[in-house]
Symmetry: D2
Subunit: 361 residues, 4 copies
């Protein structure tokens, strides 16, 4: 339970923060895909720790090695196994915490479930695991490119600093701006405010939350499933499975609850033979199935639990103790979480694309 994502295109993930390596097995990749290894490494670099002054100082090369399922640079249909070695694990930083439950971490809940756990760096609960998702998602994006489907995510808020990005910009332009700054925000002025704020938070040893906006363009109508496996429900689960995520909304989201039906309904019209909608409060999904419009959603990330101030807590013996963390930490995860959101979205869309074959006889 819990280590596999997907039905046809599947990622099974393994590895702990301070073990020798992490990695995963990708199943269901169509054969004959020419793998763009640079693109995968680029996505890993977007996620990797130590990439800028607004991230943790842990240095990991995050170099991925493929050991099966690819022959002469092309997928064969066999499971693709990949390995990412851990280089900069400093387990000694965690020796004090072996028996102490860090507040708002998974230490206690894992202890309650498993009894036995690798506490070093959060072990299995560490967000280091998300590097595996980026690899599988990056290959998924390469499959989607064959279908002209594009996935784009960026930071829409850090704490109270919110961006109102320019709706006249294309995906390409938004991507260019976002990726040109270290918070991945598609507005340079706001980006600079975010960076300053995160720097000050970091110097306080504190952390802050934020939000990521994601849009999926080019998805055909008909993706998804009715009733339980609705496309947005699978996207929601995918996003809520990312470390530190507290909420998910698509289309009109929570604001939509305040609207009237007469305001919210998306009228259809015929645009040169294509059925389109005038507005898109539906977020590109109706009844759980895509309608051909842009699919978009927002993801909420809490402030990182690791902070450097003293905190009251309890140890495994039940003693009240004071904890002072020493491990390196991210002051705000959203800049590094952008490629993770894209990866999880890509996993969902590819899977529904491969499942969507029950055509009319």
């Amino acid at each position: 339970m819990g280590n596999t994502f997907g039905t046809i295109y599947k990622l099974t993930s393994y590895g702990e923060s301070h073990g020798p390596m992490i990695g995963g097995i990708i199943e269901g990749c169509p054969s004959g895909l020419k793998i763009d290894f640079n693109a995968i490494q680029h996505d890993l670099d977007r996620r990797k720790p130590g990439q800028s002054k607004v991230t943790t100082d842990r240095k990991e090369l995050d170099i991925v090695e493929f050991v099966s399922g690819i022959y002469n640079g092309e997928s064969t249909g066999a499971p693709i196994n990949f390995i990412i070695k851990n280089n900069d694990a400093k387990s000694k930083d965690y020796s004090d915490m072996e028996t102490v439950f860090r507040p708002s971490h998974a230490d206690y809940s894992y202890h309650a479930k498993y009894g036995n756990r690798d506490h070093r760096g959060g072990g299995r609960s560490s967000a280091r695991e998300t590097a595996n998702r980026v690899v599988a998602g990056s290959i998924a994006k390469q499959i989607l490119a064959h279908y002209k489907i594009d996935i784009l995510a960026y930071v829409s808020s850090v704490g109270e600093i919110v961006t109102e990005f320019d709706k006249n910009l294309s995906n390409q332009e938004l991507r260019a701006i976002s990726e040109s700054n270290i918070v991945r925000c598609p507005d340079e002025t706001i980006a600079n405010k975010m960076i300053s704020f995160i720097e000050s938070i970091k110097s306080d040893g504190d952390s802050v939350g934020g939000q990521i906006f994601c849009t999926i363009s080019g998805a055909p109508a008909g993706l998804g499933a009715p009733v339980f496996d609705r496309l947005h429900a699978d996207l929601g689960k995918a996003m809520l499975s990312i470390n530190a995520v507290k909420g998910f909304e698509y289309g009109s989201g929570f604001e939509g609850t305040k609207m009237l039906g007469s305001q919210h309904n998306d009228e259809f019209f015929n645009e040169k033979g294509n059925l389109r909608t005038k507005s898109n409060f539906s977020g590109g999904v109706q009844g759980g199935i895509s309608n051909g419009e842009e699919i978009y959603f927002k993801v909420a990330f809490k402030p990182v639990a690791t902070i450097l101030s003293s905190q009251n807590t309890v140890n495994e013996s039940g003693d009240n103790v004071v904890l002072k963390s020493k491990g390196r930490h991210d002051p705000c995860v959203v800049p590094r979480a952008v490629p993770i959101v894209e990866a999880m979205a890509a996993l969902v869309i590819v899977d529904h694309l491969l499942l969507n074959r029950t055509v009319k006889l």
Copy 2:
């Protein structure tokens, strides 16, 4: 795809709005459960149409009949099949819509996926299907009662009208107030405002959205799974699979993105031998696994798509047409959605409870 929910405790659902019946098969119910049939019917009555002036006028008895898996009033471990007959389907109301795509309904996306569909009353995409979930969820709640786990949902907002319920009230008190008014809101004054508002909306032939709050008390620490099948991710998918849902947040949710780690972290303390947290921004789940605190979340429902004013749309031939709906409709779904939210929460928790057996050797 899409008609089954759960891993051990599973519901497979079938039926269309205007077919002879709907129903489902429940698998994985432990044997020896004495079924409280009245409790199930009570939950169905809370969901059924025509129950009050703020719901649709469609009258359905929604009487459930069990035809397998129960012997002498007790579950046997065999699959439990149940049937709910459709009595008040008025298919003629929909004859005009056979080839017209209603805005913000699933008509077009189903058409794009399947080509062939039963358009009457929305067919498979109708929220009538959720009656099946209420049956399976009501039995799930009976299993949870054996483990002293209680699930309580109520309406927390309708449009812009928001309730700030009294935190000193017990679940029992909140339930008593909510269930005593037809909008299922735990504050009588606010409830009356909501009722008046919905009535005015209904008389306009319009609709409005709302939010539901749900809390799960008594769940032990250790439920859930790491990485992909996090407890809150499964709760999120469950909620997002309900018709008209646009968003899900748990614990601090979207507001939490604005907080600092030093404000957000839930410090542990030892309460008479039990590990507890001082605050509960985590929402009872850490690293995807329950920590023994109250699990709580909020669900956003959009305004119902069926409204009685004229709307521009397109038909199957691609012609731009004007649609004037005649079918009966709910002006606001949240009062009837309360037992559905409870049911889906119960399905998730029972399933994780039955899965959570990999005890330490």
Copy 3:
């Protein structure tokens, strides 16, 4: 667990021998299939009890009613639910057995697993459940007909009486002969011997086993999966899931263990542009994936456990008791099991056909 078969094309089955009805939900049927209801009823008639002097005397009409997923005679892609009412259940015949474990039945093992069970007529463990498979399998055969895939099964042995059918006969001819006699054997002389033998066994209140041969023609190369979900492994599981089955072999089977590689290997040759094999000891499957040749296998059925002589056994209290069965019984199941074998084979092949879409990019 245990009530669902398949991944894309799925049957979820419910019902007990003496409950009001049995039935099931079929998911994954492509939309737009014109359902041939007569063909389904014909297959049910081939399986139904009381069809001839060599079967049980229980009389069931086995009329199937479809209540969802079909609109204007065509599948819609929504789950297809069907109902088969039980008419001739004589539960009183079983009242003596309420607390007695019948030898070689599932009474004790179900009791050990569930504690609580519906003992009447074997309850859930009754082969009556296989009528559900015939319905789902019959629709599956209609899908396969679109792909020119034909499935044919017949009785190849009853006790020691074995048929050596004429290899020069076409499937059509073999089917015509098999279905013209009440044991479903493709050799009339042998069929008569089998009939006489079963009649004598029946008059003794005893039972006998037998074997069924099944062949799948027209399956394209490429169906199946490597490693665990090999096509023949899924066929094997499907057959071993049928009541009373004790063994499965495909291609050269157990006899093949005695052969040398130089005798057993199937040499390839080019037949007018099609790759073919000279012999077919592989049984049409190599490395778990079909190679385009005929897929064939054999299934072993034990003698029915219900016999009318006195037997020593134990009751729920642990007392040694003598049991004298009164229920009606089949002296030999293989004539009625022919459509069940075909149905399970069809479920496997349709499922692999619908899964087999991961084409080369």
Copy 4:
């Protein structure tokens, strides 16, 4: 599809014969299991190539390295990833075969399915993959030891040479004899005949089939599931998923089809408070669920497809060609398949044990 086995205790397998490594991820292992690494290596040594004069000459150390899910020698509940490096791959032996379809191998069926494949040493279709199963199965056997469940397999025939082992011998004694000879046969005289026969076959460059018998002792009553996921159906699928397997039978098997019910029924009796059966034609499983008696079955292996004589075949261009194999090969797989059969049986039994928790309320 096809690379994962199991529901709770799951193995996901990857790797090709001539890639850098093979391996897998084990999920669902209960936490706190002290891993006996020597026992795992011992099982790998029983399967590894080059172990004796009756096996292939390929030399592989088959040393397994665990890189996650184990901390201080104990399982943590996190996925266990393991790696087995390929050392003695001689890909040049296969360069002639890059475009030639070897008879009775998976070359053509893989080509038909995937288009692109790693042909070296059979790539993904190579039985080298079964080393992964041995690792997962060996850990499964360690879990089963906690429940006093013992799995024992041995060679019961090679070609026409069949062993009639002494029924008075204990599992321990049978294991001691089987493992003391290189064909793993529990009768020394027969073992010697088998060895001589295989040696002569090997010197001819030919191959021969054989059978393996497996028995599972100590399994409690109640394991398994009704209808589709019967215990013996899952065992059957597990065995049929092993390379070169053509048949599976349990209990009375194919011979049982010739018996009368009055001979075949296993009468129950009370043995000091335990319900037992006098005979065991049921093979320890009734209605798909274990009854507490010994579970036993037989598995048929065809002769290995790689032989050294010239064979007619076809290449990817459709030309008729003559193939003369040069790769090293096993003259008979059954001696090395014994630990594979045990491993697959262990995977099935552990999985059903972990699933079997839906106790009576």
